[in-house]
């Protein structure tokens, strides 16, 4: 099965080519069938590959020659190990569900075939990224998913905010990509190969200087920071919510933003070799987690709450990886992909029901009318809040265990506070949307069935994926790390009180949310009045700590001023110089042309003078000699 793994990304690519070439000929239904069918095949193959990997863990590698540079040759191909078999399934299944869901969500849009074409291109790139056996190929796909993200955020390009968000996402992730690119070059310089195997061997054999390893690991992490929306490059991810909701679920919750985490996990042996790099990953992750969670407390847009939550949870994964909790990080990546995709699709269903209303202050009381969506959304909220037996509980507990056992008490405390904040803001969202009285001015519409079924499918792993942690003899972590030489997590027995603490803290968060928002006491005027206070903690949070404003004043505005100054310089100094030189010769020419007056006698006089000067010149030597 793994031998044909290279086929997996090709089906979406085929669908993309078909849809791009025939975009105007296909009806919406046909286009969605083509794209969904292609992803269905990929998903089926991915599941087959994963099932095969469960019993046979030796990595399968297929390689073809790509380029020859002197005596170096660069190959492309696919490599299937446990980590990317798992990622393959996550990516292709979520993508499949989003493809189906989008048929309902995008109904009536003018450019449905184009939407499916972009979605297919994204699926192709993401699957290719996951399967890449070397860094160069990974980098190519890394950029491709970035482009797809740009295209899909800006899909409704007639909205100025969408255009701006797409640009911002592209530029901010590019900053990270430059770091990754430098890391790729450094690795090739130091190791002489782009392939993971030789890189890890060289790192473990100590062939690369420790400082160089630290530098490479940090630069790889810069790439991951850009893609996964970690502080300080996080601010594009909330803005990316301008894209259609299925895109947010697929790209900005489940798969592409997890690519950064995947990259760190894939390059884990490099990080393991450098304590500084691990510390950086941990602290950036922990800070991002608590920072984004606190901002999530006060957002008004249903998708933005989820977006900040995504940033926060990605920080959690980074925290886990940095605390050597390799399995915990990857596990949380998997569970998060399912419940966050569920939450986004649920939010999309709410938005559809309310005719594209996204402000939670205008929502309320949906529990009575949208019971199915409400239940599904509740499942997602419970999972992300870390209530047993839902999947988020298990993965979060593993992360906190890893932090504790790694001796990072400060990070552990940050993680616990984040868990509390997460429970609070998720249930604030839930209560505001589903409880209380109705505030919607428009009549609700029924959510089409085709949008409900994918959410129900996602609910299965949301509920059940956590039990992977309970497989006998640590089956999951054993399987994931077998043959890779990576430690599953820090050594030691996890303290028995830890699950109790996490559950307790989540319940307290939910309870507080209930007291504040749930009892139907909160009126919409109160919530709407919240951001009015400019210099309060609330104001600070609702402006996301003014990070965007800071960037605007520190980077964007000065850059614009410099650009203006340079424009002035270009327009008046450089262009002036060029024009001045042009004018000089134009005027010289004018003077010259006045001498051409057509008078034969003047010409003769000039010739005579010339002759005299010539003779004088020729005979000058005789006078002075």
């Amino acid at each position: 099965m793994s031998d044909i793994a290279w086929l997996i990304p090709l089906f979406p690519l085929l669908a993309f080519l078909l849809l791009t070439m025939g975009a105007r000929r296909f009806s919406d239904g046909v286009a969605s069938l083509i794209a969904s069918g292609a992803v269905l095949i990929s998903a089926g193959l991915s599941v087959g590959v994963l099932i095969e990997k469960v019993s046979m863990v030796a990595p399968t590698t297929l390689r073809w020659r790509w380029l020859s540079l002197g005596d170096q040759s660069i190959s492309f191909g696919v490599e299937v190990n446990q980590l990317n078999a798992l990622m393959l399934v996550v990516v292709s299944v979520v993508s499949l569900l989003v493809h189906i869901y989008a048929r309902g969500y995008m109904a009536g849009d003018r450019r449905v075939p184009a939407f499916y074409a972009y979605l297919s291109l994204f699926t192709f790139s993401m699957l290719g990224l996951v399967l890449s056996p070397n860094l160069l190929q990974l980098y190519v796909f890394w950029e491709l998913v970035g482009v797809c993200s740009f295209l899909l955020i800006g899909f409704w390009y007639f909205k100025p905010e969408a255009k701006r968000a797409a640009r911002k996402a592209f530029i901010l992730t590019r900053i990270g990509d430059v770091g990754l690119f430098i890391a790729v070059i450094l690795i090739f310089w130091q190791v002489g190969s782009f392939d993971w195997g030789p890189i890890f061997t060289a790192v473990e054999a100590g062939k690369v200087a420790p400082e160089m390893i630290t530098l490479i690991a940090l630069l790889i992490f810069v790439g991951a920071v850009g893609k996964s929306g970690q502080f300080p490059l996080h601010s594009w991810l909330p803005d990316a919510m301008e894209g259609p909701t299925p895109v947010s679920a697929l790209i900005h919750a489940a798969t592409m933003v997890a690519a950064g985490v995947y990259l760190v996990a894939r390059a884990f042996p490099i990080f393991e070799a450098s304590d500084i790099a691990l510390d950086t990953v941990t602290y950036v992750g922990a800070f991002t987690a608590i920072f984004a969670a606190s901002v999530g407390l006060v957002q008004h847009d249903i998708k933005r709450v989820l977006a900040w939550s995504t940033v926060s949870q990605l920080g959690y994964m980074m925290l886990a990886l940095g605390s050597s909790g390799y399995v915990a990080g990857v596990f949380h990546l998997t569970t998060h992909a399912s419940f966050k995709a569920l939450l986004f699709l649920g939010a999309g269903a709410v938005i559809t029901a309310l005719h594209h209303e996204q402000d939670i202050r205008q929502m309320g009381g949906l529990w009575k009318t949208q019971r199915v969506v409400g239940w599904l959304f509740l499942l997602g909220c419970l999972a992300i809040a870390g209530i047993p037996p839902f999947s988020g509980f298990f993965s979060k507990e593993e992360i906190l265990t890893a932090a504790w056992l790694d001796g990072r008490i400060d990070v552990f405390i940050l993680g616990v506070i984040t868990a509390f904040l997460t429970a609070f803001y998720m249930f604030r969202l839930f209560f505001l949307v589903f409880m209380g009285g109705k505030k919607a001015k428009v009549e609700e519409t029924r959510v089409p069935r085709i949008m409900i079924w994918p959410i129900i499918v996602l609910a299965l792993p949301t509920v059940g994926a956590g039990f992977l942690a309970w497989l006998p003899e640590h089956g999951f972590s054993h399987w994931l790390t077998e043959g890779t030489g990576i430690a599953a997590g820090p050594e030691g027995e996890s303290p028995g009180w830890l699950p109790l603490l996490t559950v307790l803290i989540s319940v307290v968060g939910i309870g507080l949310a209930w007291l504040r928002y749930g009892r139907g006491r909160v009126n919409s005027a109160q919530v709407e009045a919240e951001p009015a206070k400019e210099f309060s903690i609330h104001g600070l949070l609702s402006h996301a700590y003014y990070v965007d404003d800071l960037y605007r004043w520190v980077f964007v505005k000065p850059y614009r001023w410099i650009s203006l100054a340079l424009t002035w310089l270009d327009r008046y100094v450089i262009a002036g110089l060029v024009k001045g030189i042009g004018l000089l010769f134009q005027n010289l020419g004018r003077i010259g042309s006045t001498m051409q007056n057509g008078q034969a006698q003047t010409y003769a006089l000039v010739s005579l003078l010339g002759l005299v000067i010539l003779i004088m010149g020729l005979s000058a030597g005789r006078w002075f000699g």
Binding site: S593, M595, Q596, N597, G598, Q599, A600, Q601, Y603, A604, L605, L608
Partner: protein
């Protein structure tokens, strides 16, 4: 040195002719001045064939040729002038400026 006086006469004639060519407004006078310059050259040729270092007949033969060709040239020049006069109704050299750049 008798040759000096001949050469001096030639030079004076040539200068007068040159001056006429460069300054006269009337195109007919310009043609006359050109004849003067030609004849100044002829005087030089004849003077050298009589008093030159290797005095012989070649210079005089040359002069005969020159006179003949000058006659033809004058005829052509006058003909052109006639044509110009018919077209432009003037013989003023200043007004012939179609060579203007």
């Amino acid at each position: 040195m008798p040759v000096t006086s001949y050469l001096a006469l030639g030079a004076v004639l040539f200068s007068i002719g040159l001056y006429g060519v460069l300054t006269k407004r009337n195109a007919v006078l310009v043609l006359f001045s050109i004849e003067l310059m030609l004849n100044a050259a002829n005087i030089n040729l004849v003077a050298f064939s009589k008093y030159g270092l290797y005095a012989n007949q070649t210079g005089q033969v040359f002069t005969l040729f020159t006179i003949t060709i000058a006659a033809a040239e004058a005829a052509v020049g006058i003909a052109i002038l006639f044509a110009l006069y018919r077209n432009r109704n003037t013989t003023n050299a200043d007004e012939f400026d179609s060579m203007k750049g």
